[in-house]
Symmetry: C2
Subunit: 373 residues, 2 copies
């Protein structure tokens, strides 16, 4: 492992890098290539940053902060104009090439075997030939996304949408225009560019966009400086906030606490900023209340009927090796899952996966039996 070279590229000194290896930096030797990953942010290096054997670095994609009150946030944050892109709801990957092999890194800096196979299938051959240092930053979405399955996008399986470009060993990303230009040239899908506006007029435009996206079940927008001078911001639809809540309360003992508060508070700010009428506010309250109550009721009734509380997802793989590796990958990520027998299909295998939601399952059973909270 060429740590000296990596330290230079990370902009920290070698001793500091070595000292982090016991706490912040973890080794991942599987699947290949072997790498070091920053489990948390440290010394200004983003979480999810990875170092390969050669000392090459792929920086973690910067966390995008959220506007709560849109108009003042845009005014305060952006110098001039801004570009609005759709924020897609899936999992964030960085796809790059190491020793000629295409790999997909998760947010946390693991090589995901399934995402890597999907990337190899979807991306045009030789996309990294001209520039092997390129890093494609984008979202994997669709019903066969085993992390966040969603049927709201035009795919029956899983697809990849580019939203930014980066280069190995550089913290900077290339920004809106270069990304869309690259996507066009290489016939890669990219997240929809919904417009460029002066910051004074943008809040009203975004409000309209967000309402339309919400009606279609879509998540929201990422707002970027076209010149890439300041970090991007995100802003989401009420429907997306409520969908998150529904997920959290379906698995109330496993997820709810982490998810809830901020989503509810967003609803308050959006309702105030949009000057809603009493009827609109009531409709929002009902949507919010239903997104909490109905999944709870479903979970409790399901358990009452003797079913287990699980989340069912599925993947489609060319090789069974990928499925086995993905099973191991989920396990190391702390997710307990039962993999069904592979069902042969045209181009490989369909695998149905049941993610166990142990805590909610057991808690619901106990409460139904008269246990106290």
């Amino acid at each position: 492992m060429n740590l000296e070279r990596a330290a230079k590229r990370l902009g920290i000194n070698l001793q500091r890098l070595q000292s982090l290896q016991e706490t912040i930096i973890k080794t991942s030797s599987w699947p290949e290539p072997r790498l070091l990953r920053f489990e948390k942010e440290a010394s200004g290096v983003e979480a999810g940053t990875v170092i390969f054997e050669s000392g090459e670095v792929v920086f973690g994609y910067p966390k995008i902060r959220r506007a709560m009150m849109l108009a003042p946030a845009l005014e305060k944050h952006f110098p001039d104009t801004l570009a609005v892109e759709e924020k897609m709801n899936g999992h964030n990957v960085r796809i790059t090439s190491v020793d000629g092999e295409v790999i997909a890194l998760t947010r946390g800096g693991f090589v995901c075997p399934y995402s890597s196979e999907v990337a190899r299938k979807i991306l045009p051959e030789g996309i990294f030939d001209a520039d092997p240092d390129l890093v494609l930053c984008g979202e994997m979405v669709g019903p066969e996304n085993p992390y966040v399955p969603k049927s709201i996008y035009p795919t029956d399986t899983i697809d990849f949408y580019l939203f930014d470009l980066a280069c190995k060993n550089s913290k900077k990303t290339l920004g809106v225009h270069k990304t869309h230009q690259f996507a066009d040239e290489h016939r890669v899908k990219s997240t929809a560019l919904l417009g460029e506006f002066h910051k004074d007029r943008a809040a009203e435009k975004i409000k309209r966009t967000i309402k339309q996206l919400g009606r279609r079940g879509r998540e929201g927008v990422v707002i970027k400086d076209p010149e890439n001078k300041v970090p991007a911001l995100k802003y989401t639809s009420s429907e997306a906030n409520c969908n998150d809540l529904a997920f959290a309360f379906r698995y109330y003992n496993d997820y709810a606490l982490d998810f809830f508060i901020s989503r509810a508070v967003r609803e308050g700010f959006q309702s105030v900023e949009w000057l809603e009428t009493p009827d609109e506010r009531k409709a929002r309250a009902l949507r919010l209340g239903e997104s909490i109550l109905m999944p709870l009721v479903e979970t409790i009734e399901k358990k009452q009927a003797g079913e287990n509380i699980v989340q069912k997802v599925q993947i489609r793989v060319r090789s069974l090796q990928t499925a086995r590796e993905f099973e191991f990958h989920l396990r190391r990520s702390g997710i307990r899952a039962i993999f069904g027998s592979p069902e042969p299909i045209d181009d490989g295998y369909l695998i149905r996966i049941s993610k166990l939601i142990m805590s909610t399952n057991d808690k619901t059973q106990a409460l139904l039996e008269g246990e106290m909270w």
Copy 2:
């Protein structure tokens, strides 16, 4: 401090008691009488237990656990019949006499100067004469309860409702019948006894009671074994759960996280257990959503209008010394509050208090100015 005597009464050995003094047991030397308080449960001794100079002990009132699914909880928990009492919404005090002086202890084991003055005013003279070891366990409620102000009870100021009796140096409480008998004999108000039922029929009866209480804004019930053989259980109305949420979301950055999840989950179990129709479920979802959204909107709009986010309460005291002491008591409890000038009234002074909700106040201001979450 007679620790040896106290240790015997607590049922733990002296060395153990002494060792706890550095961590779990804190001294409170003000207001008089000086005492030691268990800040947390330890060695089977309930949190809030206090030891006086003489070595006399007043045990903490046992925490009452909550039924989530009522029928199976009653079936599992109670041997035979059960008594249902109204659960009142205020603050829990233990009133006792020390060296001839009546004092009210808070849940945490502090002497509350205001509650003590209220107790002296409300309770009949000489109530402790026959038995100076008596401890009256009850709820202080009303609009001038500075902890939990509520206008749903028949008082314009603050009142005390007895719900159990205990004796100094004894962990056991005397239970339903002795408590109501004592209340009748001494003309002290007690929490309403709503009925005694066999456990098989109780869930249906309690459901009806809870719905009626909910419609009147009341909190719920405490379910007790009339023979005091097993600990009590509590169960609350949907309206009370939603009221708690409304409070939590009004002060979303100060309280919400602690309050929320369990209240929402209760709504799910109640809806399932009561076999609600789709319309009833929708009404419950709306109530739940409104209890979250509306207080958020109010808080944000209030801050937008330039007002500070504070909680206004008031107390009525005979002596200004009590008000000064209560100010100090709030401060030591970690509550920041501004006390208005005392307004002379018939029988003393009215004091308006603004409790500062700093975190929500500052966060809301920042978000309105375009800060990111």
